[in-house]
Symmetry: D2
Subunit: 386 residues, 4 copies
């Protein structure tokens, strides 16, 4: 709250100054990223000491090292129709322009249009192959908004996504470790290569037709979960779940979810799944309202391939959903295939992941609230005071 007001004040000043400096700018053609050089990928290496999770091969946090002169283009993505996010975007872009003039600020086309007067130095991508162009030039991404804004970033890039630093507009979250009020020190850490990255595993979603062929156009990276659900169809759907081509189970019910550790605290949790630490390399399979007493959630190795098929004789149809969005209807015999994406999201994170995660599950999920004595919650005295 305090942070947002501060951001607002900064923006107020910035916008005022910018307006005086840039008369007539709206007549010019939009400034694009065409003339920016391709990005130089940073080195991302395990931070052995910092993670606090020992010496394991699989489950580490990472350090970010830029090459050459450091990052040269930042994409700022914001929640639409949100005054606080607007204010924060203006404040951050203006501050970056002053503190790091060598870094170009890139905005999505609609956002660029909105801020063209206020932020005349901002660039956008030329219409056409936006995803390719973002992938070509963006060194890191700032998100301003909630989980939805964070999830949206995934769709802007082809496969690989540059490091993301997500800012909340007031309510911290699993995906939102930083308050926008702290943007200056946090961005400095990223730009100067002092940030810690948490790799968030993604899944790769694709649809297979009833004849078994893959629908290449259907491929999507999954941040939270892929799911098959009867949605609007009144009849229960019969879904067969295969693990590496072996039939695991056939379920009649509302649906089946396959979630990442990141997604374990989203829809999968509502469906009864466990809370999975983001450093566990695994996927959760959880049923939605199964007609069974004994469909307990499963934890599969992240190297598994899971297929969910609408049973050829299912009475009901179903639809596929990725991160909460419908991807199309599935008819009898069609299936979705889920495996680990080779492109995790590298997220700037708090340095002490264990402490942060403990705080999150307690404060965000209301984890293990004891009966009768809410005032003895061990976390009452531990929530950091701003």
């Amino acid at each position: 709250m305090r942070g947002l007001l501060a951001a607002g004040r900064i923006l107020g000043r910035s916008v005022g100054r910018l307006r005086r400096l840039s008369p007539g700018q709206t007549l010019r053609r939009p400034l694009t990223t065409c003339d920016l050089p391709p990005r130089t990928p940073p080195t991302i290496a395990r931070r052995a000491g910092a993670a606090g999770f020992g010496d394991d091969e699989a489950d580490h946090q990472y350090a970010l090292t830029w090459h050459g002169a450091g990052p040269r283009a930042v994409l700022i993505v914001k929640k639409p129709d949100d005054a606080q996010a607007d204010a924060a975007l203006g404040a951050i872009a203006t501050w970056l322009r002053g503190a790091y003039p060598q870094i170009s600020v890139v905005l999505e086309p609609a956002v660029h249009g909105q801020f063209r007067a206020a932020l005349p130095f901002a660039r956008t991508v030329a219409p056409g192959a936006e995803r390719d162009e973002y992938s070509r030039v963006v060194d890191f991404v700032v998100t301003l908004g909630g989980d939805g804004t964070f999830l949206h970033v995934s769709s802007l890039f082809r496969a690989h996504v540059p490091p993301i630093i997500p800012f909340s507009m007031g309510t911290l979250g699993f995906l939102l470790p930083f308050d926008v009020a702290d943007f200056q020190p946090q961005l400095r850490r990223v730009i100067e290569g002092a940030a810690t990255l948490l790799p968030r595993m993604r899944l790769l979603y694709a649809k297979r037709r009833a004849d078994g062929s893959l629908d290449d156009a259907s491929r999507l990276d999954v941040t939270n979960e892929a799911c098959i659900h009867r949605g609007t169809y009144p009849h229960l759907t019969t879904v067969s779940c295969f693990l590496n081509d072996h039939l695991l189970t056939t379920s009649v019910g509302d649906g089946i979810i396959v979630a990442t550790p990141t997604g374990s605290t989203a829809y999968s949790l509502s469906a009864g799944g466990p809370i999975v630490h983001p450093l566990v390399s695994s996927m959760v399979v959880a049923p939605v309202c199964p007609r069974s007493l004994s469909f307990r959630p499963l934890m599969l190795p992240s190297s598994a391939t899971v297929r969910l098929q609408v049973h050829p004789e299912s009475r009901g149809r179903a639809a596929a959903y990725v991160d909460g969005r419908e991807c199309g209807e599935l008819r009898q015999g069609e299936c979705i295939e889920i495996s680990r994406s080779p492109h995790p999201l590298m997220c700037v994170n708090r340095d002490d992941l264990a402490a942060g995660w403990a705080l999150d599950i307690n404060s965000l999920l209301q984890f293990n609230r004891s009966f009768s004595y809410p005032h003895v919650s061990p976390f009452v005295d531990r929530v950091p005071q701003k």
Copy 2:
């Protein structure tokens, strides 16, 4: 069943022949392992193709390669007071003696005493440092019995345990992929280096005193789960759970379990935990009858260190349990500490792990039995027929 009868018949013949060959043998001193050379550790390397679980660093099955002349000593461990296990032990030892005379058969002292007449060639360890001696000479271990016999093996060695091939006496299980009736081809595969190994992660258990110091003598390797439970104490116990020194939660209830993936289908499952594939590198934290509506099971990275402390002001005491056995009382302020053991159990396993695991959770756990139509279980036609 068929297997056991077959084993019985083989034993009957063997014992008859052995008796004629070895009159007066009971007068001799027991044959020990003293004169055996130290074992040559085999090479255990990832079987990239076979596991069916892709190209991941963490979650693989392994191939076993012996060096020199191959294994020279096998420890056979059997369920006590079980006629079927007795019969199987006799049959296996006799067959090994004939087929692989270069391999010494080693038995635990009590078992050796029982079979001294029937298996005069069998060796045992001299009294004293049994664990050191087993570790020095045993190349691989055969177990004959149920899960309890398998768990017992862990206690016979110091830290590192040689590869284990577990045989069931009729009922297959997660830990018991092979029926003893098939012992000949399965043992041939092990001895000739054609077997597939599944690494089963273990945990390391230790007790910390109320002053924070570690009780070195308390260290144990954990195959299924370590747990803190009020046991006989009438009052609910208050237990604080720490993740890498950060307080995660404080729970009032019957207890808390920390389980391996192997243990996820044992007590943790009864307490509501998920079913975890053995290749997931993780530990489950599950509460036992918590006084809370919101203590959902947690999946932590295997590199985490978990401490469970009887709260200094807990009204109730508690006891610690490892793999179902009590390890002693815990008073207020005392705690148990759990981290990953560097010494997984390397278990000979079916080659196709995914298929075997799918079969196990369906046939052993009665996973996802659908309502109303038990006859449409997809597994009815898929259970392999012997």
Copy 3:
């Protein structure tokens, strides 16, 4: 199976005989119930001894006593497009015509059209006020089909429903205690007043507009469950649940179910609700995928009034469903109101309810299947053999 074949053979003979007796009948106008006298309601009184559930006021089975000459009209309702149900209907109608000629057989209009040639003595209701006419003349109802057919009966009557005797076409169920192969002795018991009735509580559903007024046209009797669910709407719905005008909780999630004991083994069970014996006078409130770790199912007294309101500020809309059918969209501020219906369904049942229910939850729900040893299920030897 045997029963259905038997029924088929009976029908074959019957239809043959009927065809010879009734040439030209299809030219006549349909025979209706207009000239039937109004039904004389039977006495339905507690069977103190038989129920096996002691001397309680609330939870009893009931005996049926006809007055005067006994029942005079039976409505037979069948599953559409099902050859087995067609065969059974013919067999039952024909047998009734011979054994109890004083009882008129009544069919729904479409069914009557289908069987007009084969069953010329069958009656139907004149178009117009079908529900009033069924309520006026029908003494008892026979259903032939699955649970859906049973649920359909509820919609054919105004409020009060005459006693129902449900026959399964092969698979017994909670709602289907009798196999159609046994129709003769079971129907004799009903007609001769020797049957035991189980009262199945229903709920009364109505919609309230956002201004608080009741939508009278929306009233429905509920056999299984009423529910509010986001259905096709992508955003999570915020629903407030009121108990007798007191706010009980506000839930964000997929939906909330209010179920009868009969419905406790339907959708409510899939959502995590308990299994409720039909003699418990209660309603279950169970959430569907709530965004909460601590929404445990609630058991409320059957005399409670529950209101589920789409929160005035809910981001998502929702729809109402009764017994699996959509009843219309609910906008922000609208709500559904659920209370006990004064008109339970009186269902002919097995005399020993406790034994039958125990059998049902074991055989139909696969209740409490133990791990590892499916062969020791205590019910293997107890399932009645036909």
Copy 4:
């Protein structure tokens, strides 16, 4: 808190005055209830309008009507070793003595000894048949303490228990609707017949020997739950559960609980059972850590008889527990039998049960805490302010 301080101040004044009035009193023999007349049982009739739960036969609150001159003896039971309860007892007894001199204050012997000097008018029961004497004279009971004190009352009477008014020492609870700070108006309401009673169903517990005979001496009334649990025994116990002599299920695990609606928020809730409103006439059967994925909690009619038998071939023994206290070991073949007690506890309660219960499950159980936004709990503004 405020209440307790107030009670302390009242006691301070009272004790001072009493001390001056009664020198030398400790030399006299204890004042007993011998000369009190037998109690005249009050009329307890349904309060049709007040309960807010309609017109149902089974689920009502009740009004209390005294006969003749009203109540003449109150038993005050307090938590041991608790300064606040001591202060409250003194305050209440002294106030009653002044306001209602016709009512004798009765204390348990040990408490009477403690307060003999301060409360010289208090009576106790003569050693010998305490339970008979309490049952003979006590018109109503005041409890001062927590749930444990409330549960203790049950053990002081033979079968029938007079109306109870339970006061909390600061933390309200399901069983503790009144704060002791409000004792004056609440006691006035009871004594003047204006109180509302909530009947809390109890269960009747008895042990059956392996030969099937009933152990009469084992009979106990159960307020929360009866349970069979392996307790100290290391092996899992196999327990068969019978419903009215019909085998319902056989469970391997830690134990099985049979709970009242009152007990549904105690141990049964920790074991996964539903939250049952106290006006639902039912018992919960919930497993403790069963070796099964499919043992869902059951709701049985209150008129059922449930037997839990340690299976004759169980590997493990077990113990029986009633309301958290061990009642003795159970060997193979022995069982416990549970049915509804004819003697519910009649508890003075808030007049608006629905509102109170809604408040309790939210504030005491932390029911349905939504994710992420603890500040939007609908109950924040509704908790009554004192």
